[in-house]
């Protein structure tokens, strides 16, 4: 285990953390703002990957797919919002879990009908294929691009949430919805906008992950559990929580798989249990 090994693990962990961040930020803000448990968030990620693969095939361009897939997933999300999610907002967590669990089944079968049951790959664009020499190690260029993409989204969201008026309105609505309404914030519109951004990021994560992981019908379900763990560890509704949670889960999963393969599988669950017992509201809860 030389320095190169550790640098590789570090990059792998960072890349996985970024993927988790793209998914968990949407989920956590929808959670915090709408009090809505969207188990179908992973299914939207799966749809992003499949739609991205088709879009890349039609247009012949990875970059077009990277833009089109999030747009398509946002449209699907908007339809869901007006048909189901808006009317389930006050229905309690169990009904939300049930309906979105049903949606997972529906989306998986729709993908099986539309794309078949085989795993599909997506080629990274020419510029990003191959590996980049980083001095001590060389690392796949596309994975470096993923890290950059995640960092960019993180920076944009941080600026929007902490420095702009929209961000202040969102934070106010998470903190105290009734008060925000009384101050004249159109909370309903704000919720819808935030929900759409969350869906777009899930779609982006799906298409961005496709060249690395290849698209399967099980990808939505398998990413859902780590994403939920990130959200609970970080604290519902908080950007900082999603960032910290993504890095904790991403690094623990990657490093324990490399160092302690026997324990790797359960370490994150142990961590989650510890957080739930010691700090049931998460490490960095949005609401004081």
């Amino acid at each position: 285990m030389d320095a190169g090994f550790w640098i590789l693990q570090f990059l792998n962990a960072t890349q996985f953390s970024m993927l988790l961040f793209l998914l968990s930020i949407g989920l956590t803000v929808i959670f915090g703002l709408l009090h809505f448990v969207n188990l179908a968030h992973g299914a939207l990620y799966m749809l992003g990957a499949y739609i991205g693969i088709s879009a890349a095939a039609w247009t012949g361009s990875f970059w077009a797919a990277l833009v089109l897939a999030p747009i398509a997933v946002t449209l699907i999300g908007a339809v869901l919002y007006f048909t189901l999610i808006d009317r389930l907002r006050s229905a309690g967590p169990m009904n939300q879990v049930l309906v979105t669990f049903g949606l997972i089944f529906v989306f998986i079968d729709l993908v099986r009908i539309g794309w078949g049951d085989v795993a599909l790959g997506l080629n990274a664009p020419q510029v990003l294929s191959g590996a980049t020499d980083l001095g001590i190690v060389s690392y796949p260029t596309y994975r470096l691009f993923l890290i950059g993409l995640g960092a960019m989204v993180m920076a944009i969201l941080w600026i929007v949430l902490s420095k702009t008026q929209i961000g202040a309105m969102i934070r106010a609505s998470v903190e105290n919805e009734a008060m925000a309404k009384a101050l004249g914030i159109n909370v309903g519109e704000l919720f819808f906008a935030v929900f759409c951004v969350g869906c777009a990021l899930a779609g982006l994560a799906g298409v961005a992950a496709a060249p690395v992981l290849s698209a399967t019908t099980g990808m939505g379900i398998s990413i859902l559990i780590p994403t939920l763990i990130v959200v609970v560890i970080g604290g519902l509704g908080s950007l900082e929580g999603a960032i910290v949670g993504s890095f904790i889960v991403g690094f623990i999963e990657t490093f324990s798989a490399a160092i302690l393969p026997g324990l790797a599988a359960i370490l994150t669950y142990v961590l989650l249990a510890a957080v739930l017992v010691l700090r049931p509201r998460g490490l960095l809860p949005a609401r004081a």
């Binding site: 049930l98 669990f101 529906v106 079968d109 009908i113 939920l228 609970v232 669950y269």
Partner: protein, 327 residues
Amino acid sequence: MFFQSHARTAVLLFVLIGLVLYAATGSYFAREIVVEIAILAILAISLDVAAGYGGMVSLCHGAIMGMSAYTYAILSVKFGLPTLPSAVGGIAAAAVFGTAVGWITGRTAGIFFIMATLAFGQMAYTLIFKSRWLGGDDGMGGLDRFDLSWLGINLGDSLSFAVYTVVCLGLVYLAAAWVLRSGFGRTLSGLHSNEDRLQALGVNTVIHRARALGFSGLLAGVAGILAAQHTLYISPELLFWTVSGEILIVVILGGLGTLVGPIVGAVLFVMLKHEVSEYTNHWHMVVGLVLIAAVLAGGRGIFGQIEYWAADRRRAGKEQSAEAGDA
């Protein structure tokens, strides 16, 4: 709060007798369906005790059942114990696991409870999935059914085994109804409807939650033993979280918090599954759509909705007679 109304007794007996008759007159395939229904119904009753009466919507009941099945397999195959003590051990393991989860999550509620149970279930799944000693994702075989030859019963026979699972279902229902009617069951309902008030009355809510999930786990453990004895082979798939999700679907379709409803739900779920699978292999999409429709329709489930209508009519009838009395 739980009441064993005459209507509930009638539906329960009707379903149990119907299942036995269906197994007795049907083919081997019909008996397999009866076994499948009985196991799913036991799981659904177990979840209804926790979710419908205790308000604890658990997504780890598949894992609890799997713990029981794996303990049964470990004790009987790896350690060579006879089947009966192995089964007792399996059920005890499920009860202990349920109690532990209930105790650790005792202070969480709502969505946090759901997530926590999801996590503990997945933890158990991953542990078993990764364990070479337990066969990993290949699962374990070489299991045995009970030897009831001293009663003149051969459980290796498909009809006997089907009847045996239905008898277990009846016993599980009796146990659940008995506990729910006890003082403990009443406390549980109180926890569900107003936890603050019970705490003010001096009730230790964490211990009650843990006990309730432990009892629910015990019932799910029975299903685990039956599942292991049914196929004589177990795999980690039993513990996966979507299994728990399916149990919740069955409870919702039948009627949450009615105890009989989950049995009705299990019958419908298994029957529908086999019917739909004849025409299409997109059975899961049908389940998803039915589930969404059921929740949007009020979420009372089939049996729950019928009870609700009946209660509504009774109320209307009483009001009418009261008005007549006034006049």
